[in-house]
Amino acid sequence: MVSRYDFSRTFEIKGRDFNKAGSISINIKEILKELGIDQGIVRRAAIASYEAEMNIVMYANKGEMTLRLNPEVIRITLEDEGPGIENIEIAMQEGYTTATDEIREMGFGAGMGLPNIKKNADIFELKSTVGKGTSYNIVFYLNSKGDV
């Protein structure tokens, strides 16, 4: 899939920085609203980018989130340096989590993040190398789904 993107913006994410956690997905949401993107898509993109951002904050050392778009498609990609995911299939299951008690006390760790991204995105791809890091590719179509 080759697309030219008219807009691109990258944000840094720090692992374990719970103070700022969630601020990048808010940034992304504001940009999409400014551009006049359909409210429903804005909401789905906000949920997906939030879950992805939180996973980096919770599990990785550091990472980046990039928002790219053109009039047909929104692409949000995330790359992190962290422990990686051993079995992606299992990680994608509802309720699967490796969150620590401490994280659960903060109200996370229901194991619903990845399934939630999948539910909201038009395309969701997850790649990971154990010991190195994880990358997310999340796509939303702006017109009718299909040939981009």
């Binding site: 807009f7 969630g22 808010i26 609203k33 400014e34 551009l35 006049g36 909401r43 906000a46 778009l69």
Partner: protein, 435 residues
């Protein structure tokens, strides 16, 4: 200018102006403006002379403005002394509405959490910044509107007057309630005027009397506990014994909470009751008493009522019946009014967004405000929207210089051509100019 949570204020030609489409009427600017340059337009008491019969409908926040021994019914009597023909205890209607909200929560199975519509500024904020959440707003009528309609209809029957000969005046703790009344949605509005608590405070204070012991007990027994709770953040929660309520007050906290709701969090909460003024309506910018003190007064009154087991609300069965007759339901849904996109065309909007970023990068990012915009970022946005010029930034020296030299050379050109024209003008006119 910077206090505005939606960046709606600009200084243009030395004067503060408010961008209507962004304003949520929260009153934050009125509380803070040092020059009192921003004044809410409340109707003065004089408006009353237009009507044959006038009724005051004070916000329960008025009850917290005076000494603790002065109970609501004394204040209502005071309002009659200063010229109103009648005064309605809005706390009672608030109590009715509380019960209606309970019924609504019982039946409800739409998206959660529901968000209370008791603070109009919160409703505005949702319509402007969280258009996706409009379906979460409780579609129950506001007590002051229900009360105004009820009073007008009742009094017109009793007194044989026409509806428009009876004037209903809401006494408000905040500017938003006024604006919301002045620009009613398509729902019919029976409120004729609005008077701020600040405006009525002095005349009212001069006629208030302390209660003696017997009176005090009787007065206390007439206070509707459910309605009194509406004046403070957390009040409804406390008096209604609903479990899953989240109480939020202050605009920054509300924004954080709504961001969470928009991400799909807080779905286990039934109802969010939010007030943009800290501590609730008692913290409104048109009140007199310190907001923490008035908050305490309301809480102490609630404590006393709880200890004495006083409720004084209307018959619950009657309310339930009315609820089922749709008496409390809004006829209209709340509509979103989202912030205007940079451009209708997405391609162009993207272009403008990129340009905005470039402009922003060239700015000093110190948010000095000299250009008239609250932040460098909003300034960059105003430039790409075409609302202001880049040269309005005093730090943008190169562009300002270019513009100035451009103007200068244009000026020189016109001078040149004027001189040439002058040479050709007939002598008579030239002589006249020389006189």
């Amino acid at each position: 200018m910077r206090v505005c949570p939606t960046q709606a204020i600009r200084i243009r030609n030395g004067k503060a102006t408010i961008l209507e489409e962004k304003c949520i009427d929260c009153g934050e600017c009125i509380t803070i403006c040092p020059n009192e340059a921003i004044v809410a337009l409340t109707d003065p008491l004089g408006e009353r002379s237009k009507f044959k019969y006038t009724v005051a409908i004070p916000s329960p926040a008025l009850y917290a403005q005076f000494g603790r021994s002065i109970l609501p019914d004394k204040i209502l009597t005071g309002l009659k002394k200063i010229g109103f023909d009648d005064a309605h205890d809005l706390a009672i209607t608030c109590g009715d509405t509380s019960l209606a909200i309970e019924h609504f929560l019982d039946e409800y199975n739409g998206p959660k959490p529901l968000i209370s519509n008791c603070c109009p500024s919160v409703v505005n904020l949702i319509q402007v910044r969280y258009p996706q959440l409009v379906d979460h707003i409780i579609p129950i009528k506001l007590p002051k509107r229900l009360a105004a309609k009820e009073i007008k209809e009742k009094k017109s029957k009793e007194l044989g007057l026409k509806l428009d000969e009876i004037g209903t005046f809401y006494i408000t703790p905040c500017p938003v309630k006024m604006i919301a009344i002045k620009q009613p949605s398509s729902e019919e509005c029976y409120i004729d005027g609005v008077i701020s608590i600040a405006d009525i405070y002095a005349p009212l204070l001069s006629v208030l009397e302390c209660e003696d012991e017997d009176d005090y007990r009787k007065s206390l027994e007439s206070v509707c506990i459910l309605g009194i709770g509406w004046a403070v953040a957390g009040g409804m929660h406390r008096t209604q014994k609903l479990k899953n309520i989240l109480d939020v007050s202050g605009i920054t906290e509300i924004i954080k909470t709504f961001d969470d709701i928009e991400r799909g969090k807080l779905q286990n909460i039934d109802l969010v009751v939010a007030y943009t003024c800290p501590q609730g309506c008692v913290g409104g910018s048109l009140t007199v008493e310190n907001r923490y003190i008035s908050y305490n007064k309301i809480i102490q009154l609630l404590e006393t009522l709880e200890e004495e087991n006083i409720e004084a609300c209307r018959d619950k069965r009657e309310i339930r019946e009315r609820y089922h007759q749709k008496y409390f339901h809004l006829q209209q849904k709340y509509e979103p009014r989202p912030i205007r996109a940079l451009d209708e065309d997405l391609g162009k909007a993207i272009e403008k967004r990129n340009k905005k970023e470039k402009i922003y990068d060239s700015l000093p990012k110190i948010d000095c405000g000299i250009c008239g915009a609250p932040t460098c970022l909003t300034f960059a946005e105003d430039v790409v929207r075409g609302d202001t010029r880049l040269s309005d930034c005093i730090f943008n020296v190169p562009s300002r210089f270019k513009e100035l030299t451009g103007e200068l050379s244009k000026l020189m050109d016109t001078f040149d051509s004027m001189r040439k024209d002058e040479g050709r003008k007939p002598g008579r006119e030239r002589r006249r100019e020389n006189l």
